[in-house]
């Protein structure tokens, strides 16, 4: 194995182990260096398969390089670099190691050429990332982390089960097109679907991400779900079912996002909605659609990190991200406000921002293939995402009514990270060709036409007008301190309650049985006492004459029996 064939993600995974040995500026410099080394290593890679190991009869491929794995590899590396900058002020070794190893595991996973290596790194992302939640170090975070871990590891177990079934059928562990015809394929689809937050499998995302640390959420938002998108694009392109799954994903989370108070949870819902666009692209499966899914994942990681960074900065400075308690922060955090607006414009798909040049490929692909219902839902979701991410997030955090909070601007490292990410969001929007050049298929899509620019501006401006009118005339639902029920209710309330009431009724049944047994025993003792007790008929002292009489009766009876 030469250095050219070393899986770049391992640089972060192995490098993370040495973070605790360093201190101060040296540690910061080292942590910045690792993603740079990883990126440099990735640029050396030529397409092909390397680092193969023989395991029993199977060949493990640790490093499979092609355009699809590279585009995800590049963006994961960029995201890890930006996240490290954002977290430079933080001195928590646990989070530093976990974040770095997590990013590395995700990068290793996108270069894994076989299902077993994929499984190993799939689980490693789960195990490393949970520490970013536990690092809050509260009982609540611990419980949230446990729920997250059970679901993530469960996804891995499904992946392994599916992989074993496929191996026994086909004899090959190669991770290529899987399809849903076999049982193994179905299991793997569910496994990917959990991590990609398919409807009804989604709620771990909204449950866990907003409960992680300020910097942890920025890491989390980039990798796990987009790893699942990569895996879906590799294993299930053109699976028609995914079009419907994806369309549902784009639409339903936005209703929750409108009424959610925790602004990081609003972002988690909108993350779910954005994944929906990518899943639709994978389901359509044409070159344009798959390019759209990959490029949208690329752009999305940047603007979603940026939004989580800005909300993280608000949480860091004010101690809350509840919309009901914020407002007016543009006065004290003007830079964060500006960066947040850039992220909001990007996710909404304003011309000159990144979402505009990527999301539209998926919409065009849907329309090209005649999926008019899907196209309508995606258009609705585009307006909806502007509503909750584009307007609600910046409006309630930085504008709205002045909460009176006067805080310091975010730390300089956070501002640098947000600034770089903002630059990339605009750069992709202005020069999309650089991104288009690294996509899996050749691109002949032109985003900047008069029709596209004007129609998108119309859609967004009128969505904004709807917000303004509803807000002005008091129809907009106010931010309220609340919890909104979602599918996590099933495992946080319904199942525990059902189980505990079942256990309770079992306990009652046991008590009842115990009462019966006691009563029966008491009756028995009572009878025994009655006959054998001090005054019982069988306990009496009998006179000799009486005994002789009984003996005579017995002997008489004996004779009688004998003669019969």
């Amino acid at each position: 194995m030469t250095i050219e064939q070393f899986s770049p993600g391992l640089i972060l995974v192995i490098g993370a182990l040495f973070v605790p040995l360093l201190n101060g500026y040296l540690r910061s410099a080292y942590m910045l260096l690792l993603p740079l080394l990883c990126g440099w290593q990735m640029l050396q890679l030529a397409p092909g398969e390397y680092e193969t190991f023989e395991l029993f009869d199977y060949t493990l491929v640790m490093l499979r390089v092609d355009k699809l794995s590279l585009v995800f590899g590049y963006i994961f590396t960029i995201a890890s670099f930006l996240s490290v900058i954002y977290a430079l002020h933080m001195k928590d070794t646990v989070q530093q190691v976990a974040g770095m190893a997590y990013a590395g595991a995700a990068i290793c996973a996108v270069f894994a050429g076989d299902l077993i290596s994929l499984f190993v790194f799939w689980e490693l992302t789960a195990i490393t990332s949970v520490f970013l939640i536990w690092a809050v170090r509260t009982e609540r975070a611990f419980r949230t982390g446990m729920r997250y871990l059970v679901i993530q590891v469960g996804s891995g177990v499904l992946l392994l089960s599916g992989a074993l079934l496929i191996v026994s059928e086909t004899g090959s562990i190669t991770f290529g097109h899987i399809g849903i015809d076999s049982l193994g394929g179905k299991l793997i689809l569910v496994s990917f679907g959990i991590k990609a937050a398919f409807p009804l499998l989604h709620n771990w995302l909204q449950d866990a991400y907003p409960e992680a640390t300020v910097t942890g959420t920025v890491f989390l938002s980039s990798f796990t779900t987009k790893l699942a998108i990569y895996a879906l694009a590799r294993g299930f392109p053109g699976t028609e079912m995914l079009i419907w799954v994806g369309a549902t994903m784009t639409a339903f989370p936005i209703f929750f996002a409108v009424i959610e108070n925790d602004l990081r949870r609003v972002l988690a819902y909108s993350l779910n909605n954005q994944l929906g666009f990518m899943v639709v692209g994978i389901g359509i499966g044409t070159e344009l659609a798959l390019n759209g899914a990959a490029s949208h994942a690329f752009a999305h990681i940047l603007y979603k990190s940026l939004l989580f960074m800005s909300m993280g900065a608000v949480l860091f400075r004010t101690g809350t991200v509840n919309g009901s308690e914020l407002g007016g922060l543009y006065k004290s955090m003007p830079w964060s406000t500006g960066f947040c607006i850039i992220g909001a414009a990007s996710i909404s798909g304003f011309p000159l921002f990144s979402g505009f040049v990527t999301k539209s490929m998926i919409l065009t692909a849907a329309a090209d293939e005649g999926h008019w219902i899907t196209w309508t839902i995606l258009l609705f979701a585009s307006a909806g995402v502007f509503h909750h991410s584009g307007i609600k997030i910046p409006y309630f955090a930085f504008f709205a009514h002045d909460s009176g909070k006067r805080v310091k601007e975010a730390p300089i490292n956070m501002l640098v990270a947000m600034g770089l990410t903002s630059f990339l969001c605009i750069f992709i929007g202005v020069y999309p060709d650089m991104l288009y050049a690294i996509l899996p298929y050749p691109v002949n899509y032109v985003p900047y036409t008069a029709a596209h620019v004007i129609t998108m501006l119309q859609l967004l401006a009128f969505a904004a007008l709807a917000f303004a009118v509803l807000n002005r005339y008091g129809f907009y639902p106010p931010e309220l301190r609340s919890t909104n029920l979602d599918t996590d209710w099933i495992y946080r309330r319904l199942i525990p309650r059902t189980v505990s009431s079942f256990v309770k009724s079992l306990a009652e049944a046991r008590n009842e049985l115990r009462r019966w047994r006691t009563a029966a025993l008491m009756y028995l003792l009572d009878r025994v006492f009655h006959y054998h007790g001090p005054r019982g008929v069988l306990a009496r002292t009998w006179a000799i004459s009486g005994a002789a009489l009984w003996v005579m009766v017995l002997l008489g009876g004996y004779l009688l029996v004998y003669y019969l």
Binding site: R140, I254, F255, F256, V258, I259, Y330, K331, S332, M333, P334, A367, D368, W372, W375, L379, F380, A383, G384, H387, F399, D402, R406, V407, K408, E409, T449, A450, A451, I454, T455, M456, L457, Q458, L459, L460, A461, F462, A463, A464, L465, A466, F467, A468, V469, L470, R472, F475, Y476, P477, L480, R481, S482, T483, N484, L485, D486, R492, R493
Partner: protein, 83 residues
């Protein structure tokens, strides 16, 4: 601390109204801009005058009003899961 004692344009009475009316003007201009470009529609509805504008407005209002109603079913106290 930044922002203390400083006067902000948005705090002035009437400023928010100005933003609102500016947005209304922008929307009107964009609506009329529908006449200015050549359409390449996939679907017949896209040829309606101002389709994207109307779609954006109607569905956004629908989204917010529907979500408001959802609160009746979904909203619980903040510490719902804590007890």
């Amino acid at each position: 601390m930044k922002g203390e004692g400083k006067k902000y344009w948005l705090d002035k009475p009437g400023s928010v109204d100005k933003v609102y009316w500016a947005l209304c003007t922008l929307c009107a201009a964009l609506f009329l801009a529908d006449a200015l470009y050549e359409k390449h529609p996939h679907y017949a509805v896209e040829e309606w005058f101002g389709f994207y504008a109307l779609f954006g407005f109607v569905f956004s209002v629908g989204l917010v009003l529907a979500a408001r109603e959802l609160r009746r079913f979904l909203m619980r106290k903040e510490d719902y899961y804590d007890d």
